[in-house]
């Protein structure tokens, strides 16, 4: 009996067993993945016809992945030290975006066409309150909800973390109410950026232009496609406040009809119609508010994306596929993109935002690595992670080390929040949930507790999400990421770079 179990366990470890197990799994994925957009011939054809789109999505994936990686660092640091999945981390990220927006709002310049923007130095300054509040929040959470439970069973702390996450989400919802203060008097005008519906997505002022940096390096004749023209018209309309999202969608549909060959039109129009229907569903959270329809800034943002023809299926948009206005934003660029595709190949765009997000992420990671490897506190953190009791005996103030770990994680989440705001231009108070799922997946994929692993996992998940948005189906992206999570746990629970056993008690 015992030997049979042993040999079975041994078989399970052997590579042959894994390959044998992998074949049916791949087949099942190919079979059942089809409703979720997995159609290999179509995908390969798309890439063959237009290799630029692959490169473009790689860039988008890198930028979004950088943000995910920064959040994942917070998860992995905390997990490395006290073995707790800090659910609240991703809601600290959401509140970081709020903080950044509020600290930038005194500097907002409203342009003639209604678009809000801030100078670059204001954005730079806003990084500090975002990171500071993030750190403060995370330390407070640790003090309030986790410290007393230091020696309690793991699940008890996990439930406490879950509760904390919900509390923060509600704070985010009520922070949105500040937008109503804007009508109370001119002294509150900095809150007007939040809009009048507290549950609706908030728009973030634009900081950097959407200019294609490659245009400066390799200048070429700008040849706007008909789709871009139609999108521009839609944007103009929305800016003037004459068009609702449906109208924007209608214009986008028109663009599709105008530019696409018949069979492609039917293929692309089907999802777009459904999306338009979606937009009528009122967001459930806003039951109490009569004005639950997404408002002008959202339409504006959507139109902006349509206008620039930037195929950026941003984190937030895909995160909230259930939210009407968001869907418009997620699908509209894709639709335009498909439309443009039959005319000419995608021109690869690298904007300043891409570079900024990626470079900030790299800098933060390098600083973190240096901090952990070279400073005394970093050494104390490593010691605490290795053996908390032994560290205590050696005179390390474990409580302080843990608090500093949470502070670092919170600061990173705040920075990621700021970066999301700049990069995606819009956010909503529920975005922490999906961001948390994605970044936790990234941390597990890289090997939880491993900093380089979290960075690598974040980038991989970002690229996977971007590819899924483009080549599979934007509605199923979360499902694909979840599949990756399960497969990693099944085949390599220690992650790509993880060393220690997965069953560390």
């Amino acid at each position: 009996m015992q030997t049979a179990a042993n040999s079975r366990a041994g078989l399970r470890q052997s590579p042959i067993w894994r390959i044998l197990l992998a074949i049916p799994i791949i087949y099942v994925v190919l079979l059942l993945g089809q409703p979720a957009g997995l159609d290999l011939p179509k995908i390969v054809d798309t890439i063959r016809n237009d290799p630029g789109i692959l490169l473009q999505q790689l860039i988008n994936g890198l930028a979004n992945g950088a943000i995910i990686a920064i959040i994942a660092l917070g998860y992995t640091l905390v997990y490395g030290i006290i073995e707790l999945v800090n659910f609240a981390n991703s809601d600290v990220f959401m509140l970081g975006t709020f903080t950044a927006l509020l600290s930038m709002s005194p500097f907002i310049i409203m342009s003639e066409n209604g678009g809000a923007s801030v100078p670059w130095w204001a954005a730079l300054i806003a990084f500090f309150p975002a990171m500071g509040i993030g750190a403060l929040l995370n330390v407070t959470i640790e003090r309030v909800a986790y410290r007393k439970l230091r020696n309690a069973p793991k699940l008890i702390v996990l439930i406490s973390a879950l509760g904390m996450s919900f509390i923060l989400q509600n704070i985010g919802l009520q922070l949105g109410s500040l937008g109503k203060l804007a009508q109370a008097g001119p002294q509150f005008s900095i809150f007007s950026i939040l809009g009048s519906n507290n549950a609706a997505p908030k728009s973030f002022p634009s900081v950097f232009s959407n200019d294609n940096l490659l245009e400066y390096v390799f200048p070429s004749e700008p040849t706007p496609t008909p789709a871009a023209d139609a999108g521009g018209a839609a944007a103009a309309g929305a800016v003037a406040g004459e068009l609702s999202e449906d109208a924007v969608m209608a214009t986008a549909n028109a663009a599709i009809d105008a530019t696409m060959v018949a069979d492609e039109a039917t293929r692309a129009a089907a999802p777009t119609e459904v999306v338009a229907a979606d937009a009528e569903v009122t967001p459930e959270v806003a039951v109490a508010d009569a004005e639950a329809t997404p408002e002008a800034p959202v339409a504006d943002a959507a139109a902006e994306i349509v206008a620039t023809e930037e195929p950026t299926p941003d984190i937030i948009a895909t995160m909230n596929a259930e939210n009407g206005g968001q869907d418009v934003m997620a699908e509209a660029p894709a639709a335009t993109n498909e439309a443009g595709q039959s005319i000419e190949r995608t021109k690869v765009r690298i904007t300043f935002k891409d570079l900024l997000v990626i470079s900030v992420a790299v800098v933060l990671m390098l600083v973190l690595r240096w901090f952990i490897a070279n400073t005394k506190m970093g050494k104390a953190m490593r010691a605490t992670a290795q053996n908390r009791d032994a560290a205590k005996i050696m005179g390390i103030d474990v409580d302080r080390v843990i608090a500093i770990t949470f502070a670092i994680g919170g600061a990173l989440a705040g920075a990621a929040g700021m970066m999301t705001g700049i990069y995606n231009g819009t956010f909503v108070f529920t975005m922490g949930f999906t961001a948390g799922l994605r970044s936790f997946t990234a941390a597990v994929l890289g090997g939880i507790g491993n900093i380089t692993g979290a960075a690598l996992g974040g980038i991989l998940i970002g690229i996977l999400a971007a590819f899924s948005d483009q080549f599979l189906s934007v509605r199923w992206t979360n499902a694909w990421i979840f599949l990756v999570l399960v497969l990693v746990m099944l085949f390599r629970p220690t992650g790509l770079l993880g060393k220690h056993g997965g069953e560390k008690a």
Partner: protein, 498 residues
């Protein structure tokens, strides 16, 4: 040693009853007093002083409830936004009734709990609860409090909470995607008994199919991840709970080809005719779930189950809950149930004693999913409409809240937790909103003339938007102060050698 004045559960019963009476008022104080009395009674045992202590605490609790109810009926009633109260609800009968039933319930349950003959005591307690449950629809009809619809929803959640209690309470596995099985149950009913699907199967058959489907999905999900550690399981189930509604939302145009033949056809450059199509091969792809629009109407279980007539629904779900509670109670004391608890307490020791840990975990996971499937099946039939929006993450957390608040592992505690949490969620927050709004209207809004500021305050004080905060607070506070819950699971004693 100093004698404790109030112990946690008793204090909470008093505060909770008084608060609920303050917010709800009217006839409801009778129901509140009965519930509070049950809680007080359940908190007693022989060591705490038995029925004598229950009499003292029950008196305090009932008095607080009646006082607050009186305050609501006579003072808060003057606020501008309240509905009017009919005279009988503020008559002496209501107050006396509430007082009597509160004291009676607490004393009776405490006395029964302290009986020498434990079996008789347990039967007596059940009889009291059964009497209340059966009397409720008549009470509701007499007083005209329109609570039936809410209570039915509460019972649906109570059933889910009982199922989650097996997973989280008995076995110590945190399942954060419990709503997925609820959704699977609901959609199974929709696909088996609706115009949309073109099938009409009898309800009594479908609920078993729904439960089996939920259990099957529990097995499929659990098998790969259950051998992993607990926090990984929590995240994977969280993801699963997120994915299932996404799948139901988007499975509206399915066309599945056999993948190998599709790849061969593509590589050889042949057209679509060589591809083997499996599902959705016609001109229009197969529509399984009707997307965001959902499926409606769903057939009802029988002829008397019509819209607006809640009584048959109430007794159906009541019967389902009672049977579930009975089965789960049997399970808890069976060999499997004891193995679950042993595993929760110390996995290593349990496996050393010969408990097949992985198999027991999977069993618990499947049985838990099954009860959620039952609940989902009833829910689908009851609301006669299923759409993916009804199954979001917050449901998983609400159900977890019920288990945590009531006492994980304690069947009766979880039942009480479910009723309290869901009643607060559905009834109390709305009422509280009305009262706070009323107070604001006679105070701040009167003095302050800035409409923007008033608008902001109204939005900030909108109690219905604080649900997430409430559930979050329940989880955090319970974990820090009383992780065993309001009515902790008693440590069962087994005779030696059994």
């Amino acid at each position: 040693m100093k004698k404790q004045l109030f112990r946690g559960t008793e204090l909470l019963a008093i505060v909770l009853s008084a608060f609920l009476a303050l917010v709800m008022g009217r006839w409801s104080i009778i129901v509140i007093a009965a519930t509070g009395g049950a809680l007080v009674g359940l908190a007693q045992d022989r060591a705490s002083g038995g029925w004598k202590r229950a009499l003292q605490i029950g008196l305090i609790m009932s008095a607080a409830t009646v006082l607050m109810g009186w305050f609501h009926n006579n003072v808060l009633q003057l606020l501008p936004v309240q509905e009017t109260i009919n005279a009988s609800a503020r008559s002496l009968l209501t107050y006396v009734g509430a007082m009597a039933i509160g004291v009676f319930t607490s004393v009776a349950i405490a006395w029964l709990r302290c009986l020498e003959n434990q079996k008789a005591g347990r039967i007596g307690q059940l009889a009291i609860l059964a009497a209340y449950a059966i009397a409720f629809p008549f009470f509701d009809a007499v007083t005209g409090s329109v609570w039936m619809a809410t209570i039915i929803v509460c019972l649906i959640y109570a059933m889910q909470a009982q199922g989650l209690n097996i997973v989280a309470g008995f076995s110590g596995m945190l399942d954060l995607g419990y709503v997925a099985f609820f959704a699977i149950g609901g959609y199974t009913v929709a696909l088996m008994n609706s115009e949309f699907a073109g099938r009409h199967m009898p309800f009594m058959l479908i609920i078993w199919i729904a439960a089996a489907a939920a259990a099957l999905f529990g097995l499929l999900l659990g098998a790969p991840v259950i051998p992993l550690r607990g926090d990984y399981l929590a995240i994977v189930t969280l993801g699963f709970g997120e994915i299932v509604p996404i799948a139901f939302k988007n499975l509206e145009a399915i066309r599945i080809n056999e993948p190998i033949s599709a790849i061969i056809a593509w590589l050889s450059g042949k057209g679509a005719e060589t591809v083997t199509c499996l599902i959705g091969c016609g001109d229009t792809p197969y529509n399984l779930t009707n997307g965001t629009q959902g499926i409606s109407p769903i057939g009802s279980p029988g002829e008397s189950f019509v819209v607006g007539n809640y009584t048959p629904w109430y007794f159906l779900i009541l019967a389902m809950v009672v049977i579930s509670v009975f089965l789960i109670h049997q399970l808890r004391h069976s060999r499997i149930g004891r193995a679950m608890v042993a595993m929760r307490e110390d996995e290593l020791a349990a496996s050393a004693m010969g408990v097949p840990v992985t198999r027991i975990k999977l069993t618990a996971f499947m049985i838990g999913a099954m009860f959620s499937g039952f609940a989902g099946a009833f829910y689908g039939s009851y609301v006669s409409f299923i759409s993916p929006d009804a199954f979001d993450f917050s449901i998983s957390v609400i159900v977890l809240c019920m288990v945590i608040l009531g006492g994980s592992g304690s069947i009766i505690g979880v039942l009480m937790g479910a009723l309290v949490v869901k009643i607060i969620d559905l009834l109390v927050l709305d009422k509280l909103q009305v009262i706070i709004n009323g107070i604001m209207h006679v105070t701040v809004f009167k003095w302050n003339t800035n409409p923007g500021l008033n608008n902001f305050l109204e939005s900030l004080l909108n109690m219905t938007q604080y649900k997430l905060l409430l559930f979050g607070l329940i989880l955090v506070i319970m974990m820090i102060t009383r992780p065993q819950g309001l009515v902790p699971a008693s440590v069962a004693k087994y005779p030696e050698g059994k």
